[in-house]
Amino acid sequence: MNSDAHDSDGPPHDSDDLDGTADMNSADGTDDTDGFDDELDGEADDLAEFEGDDSLDNDLLEETLRQAAAIMDPVPAQLQQTAVEAYTLYSLDTRLAELTFDSLVHGIPVRGVLDAPRMLTFRTDELTVDVEVTAHGLMGQVLPPQEARIEVLSGPQLSSPPTLTADDMGRFTGDLRVSGPFALRLRTDAEVVMTEWLRA
């Protein structure tokens, strides 16, 4: 676990096994069945003892790659603009409800069920919001039970977002299809609470 990471997103090793990176820590640079490359250039390892000599070349090659990446795979300009505009999401008077459960990370897969609903739980010190995202819409529950207005946000500049209403039992439901980044802004009698941004 890297101490730099301020994980707000569940246990540190939640999904490490998925992309095959879990065993990268143990890579010792000698095993050729480790997926680093195909067998075609296994002979490259014969050069291992000359490592000390090519550090300058490596720096140069890395810099050339950097130039290539800027041309071949840059951050799309419009996308970057969205991040610049996201500054409006910085708000000190809104309480943050942190994600404490995500079925995609902690859930047990149900056999034969391909499109299981995404179950999410967000918490502040005083409030819990359970949310279920399905192909048909969004439903959930505010605890302790109370009425609330719930805005469904999908980006930084949204003047009149779709709104749901939680009844006096705290239940809410809507046939609103959620995809991509989203967050819920809850207005209760006492405060404004915003859930952590997530990708549906």
Binding site: A5, D19, D37, L65, A183, L198
Partner: protein, 191 residues
Amino acid sequence: MDRAAVGALVQSAVDGDAAGWKALVEGLSPLVWSVARAHRLSDADAHEVYSTVWFRFAQHLGRIREPEKAGSWLASTARHECLKVIKSSHRMTPTDDAQLLDRISDDRTPEQWVIESEEASAEAERIRQLWQAFEELGARCRQLLRILMSSPPPSYQEISAGLGIAVGSIGPLRQRCLRRLRVRLSARGVL
């Protein structure tokens, strides 16, 4: 990006300076993008992960305890979102090489078209060859190098956070992967 500089920019953004925020976005966007690309996400998924990460960062801005480590925070958050994308298996991106090569020839960015239409200059061709050689590397070398080549150069802490690998293993991996790339480039006659 230099840690002290990142820390100062985070602080100015926290204090309400939109220019500080913009500079942060400009300085750390390539890192966030590279984490998504290193996980082989499609364009659409990479866009969503990138946006989600920045939206969440804005949300957490006033609560970040170690502002100078914001790069690692972003990289780590991006990685976790990438893993979630991969976990929702029906959206998994195919990674066989034939498909990747198709992508290079069929799905060129505007920048690539510019390069090719302006003139088939030796430099443009060299970059294309380099990129193709990079794309042909094994999955892990592609992953490491894609983050390593973001601009400005990421710290090893940021790379570690973005890939979930130990800081100490990055140096040896880097050597190994660059060596392999060089072999491929020599074979192509590019180096």
